[in-house]
């Protein structure tokens, strides 16, 4: 941090902002335990803006790259499915993830000088930069997310996909070599569905587990309208490769700030929910508990 107001903000919110070199100057009572200090970079954005960097952002916010509108639409939908209107994670979720990251490819190039005819398989290079994934976020699932144009005049699609990960040979930055690849086909109904998620967890797990910052892959994705049949006409093909996919990572953030669903479930089993105070919008007392609570309050008032 190189804020002009460093001294002021340090004074005001020393607990959150003390840079490492200034920690020894702080009153011992204000020094954070080592574990917390290590986690400073991982503080949620709501707390981070209270720090030096956040104060800078408030005054002159650094422009952020705007995400793809389709990607934004998908994540908003995911948010609605995952949280209430008040923003509380829904209780019925059974999965273990507490973080979902969506990356759009930072660059793509199309191989080859062949004419782009329908039905031709051609490769699209995708480069995903995963710098935002922290060391404490563990991968649970990774997905390639394709969006469909709903005006596609068909009720079903059969797609053939060839996916390969490219490793950059140190001796030659120009020509990446293919480290491993997978090919598969899938058939699905279109209906109102606008998105198709292709699970590539086992394919990308080895790369993400080793904290690879950049993933370079080539995707050949060609779809034919209708059910899979021999001698399918080329005229039935849809060029999926023109719509670059996003990469979705479902993660379990093990940092202290993240919500650990399994922990709260274990806590609830040990400590049954007690009646909440009245006027709480989150009160979930049953009628019996509410009556018991009221009786208890009347009794305590009488005693006083």
């Amino acid at each position: 941090p190189h804020s002009r107001d460093r001294a002021v903000s340090n004074k005001i919110s020393g607990l959150l902002v003390a840079p490492e070199d200034a920690i020894s100057e702080l009153n011992p009572l204000l020094r954070l335990p080592k574990g917390v200090r290590r986690g400073y970079a991982l503080l949620p954005p709501l707390l981070k803006v209270l720090s030096d960097q956040g104060r800078q952002n408030w005054e002159s916010e650094a422009p952020r790259l705007q995400p793809d509108s389709r990607a934004l639409r998908y994540m908003k939908r995911l948010y609605k499915m995952s949280a209430t209107k008040e923003g509380i994670p829904k209780a019925h979720k059974s999965h273990l993830y507490n973080t979902v990251r969506l990356f759009t490819p930072c660059s793509e190039c199309k191989h080859g000088h062949r004419d782009l005819m329908k039905g031709d398989l051609h490769s699209v290079d995708l480069l995903f930069n995963l710098d935002r994934v922290t060391a404490l976020e563990h991968l649970l699932k990774s997905v390639l997310l394709y969006s469909f144009d709903v005006s596609v005049p068909t009720s079903s699609l059969t797609c053939m996909c060839h996916l390969s990960v490219k490793e950059h040979d140190l001796s030659s930055q120009v020509c990446p070599s293919i480290s491993h690849s997978v090919a598969f086909s899938l058939h699905f109904e279109v209906r109102k569905r606008k998105w198709v998620e292709i699970d590539v967890t086992s394919f990308l797990q080895p790369l993400i587990a080793t904290h690879r910052r950049n993933i370079h892959m080539a995707v050949n994705f060609t779809c034919l309208m209708g059910d899979p049949q021999p001698n399918t006409k080329r005229d039935n093909s849809i060029d999926m490769a023109l719509v670059p996919p996003s990469l979705l990572l479902y993660l379990n953030d093990t940092s202290e700030q993240a919500y650990h669903r399994w922990n709260s479930l274990r806590h609830r089993r040990k400590n049954p929910v007690r009646p909440r105070l009245r006027n709480s919008p989150f009160a979930d007392t049953t009628d019996d508990e509410a009556r018991a609570n009221t009786r208890s309050k009347r009794a305590s008032r009488r005693r006083r």
Binding site: A62, R64, K76, R278, N279, R301
Partner: protein
């Protein structure tokens, strides 16, 4: 008893008002609603959802005998006794949150990626005295 001997014998101005404060304590420790909009903080450019955030807060006086109602540990009552009888520089117990709810947040990262994350202990749901 010592205080009664020292204090002048002046009756309260209104006995019913005097007793009411024991029957219906004013400003007792409880959860209060507070809602903020991220646009107020100019954070709405990078926090996509939720649009509003209700962290709530605890405020109020803690009774001398907290007991079962607030789920306070015994130490709270001990600290009250220390404050009243031994050393008034030792602070009285305070009304603070005891339980919290998590919050889901959807944000845009500096590199343009989007992240959905669930954060722990973001909304106060119950108060205690300690």
């Amino acid at each position: 008893d010592e205080n009664l001997k020292e204090a002048p014998a002046t009756p309260p101005y209104n006995l019913s008002e005097y007793f009411k404060q024991f029957l219906f304590p004013q400003n007792e420790c409880e959860l209060h609603s507070f809602r903020l909009s991220f646009s107020q903080l100019k954070w709405d450019k990078w926090i996509i959802a939720p649009h509003r955030y209700s962290p709530q807060y605890c405020k109020g006086d803690c009774p001398r005998v907290v007991g079962h109602r607030y789920g306070s540990p015994v130490h709270t009552m001990v600290q009250n006794i220390i404050y009243e009888k031994l050393d008034s520089s030792v602070p009285k117990p305070s009304c603070v949150p005891a339980e919290y709810s998590p919050l889901s947040v959807l944000t845009i990262e500096p590199d343009g990626s989007i992240v959905y994350k669930e954060y722990e202990d973001m909304i106060a749901t119950k108060c205690t005295c300690r």
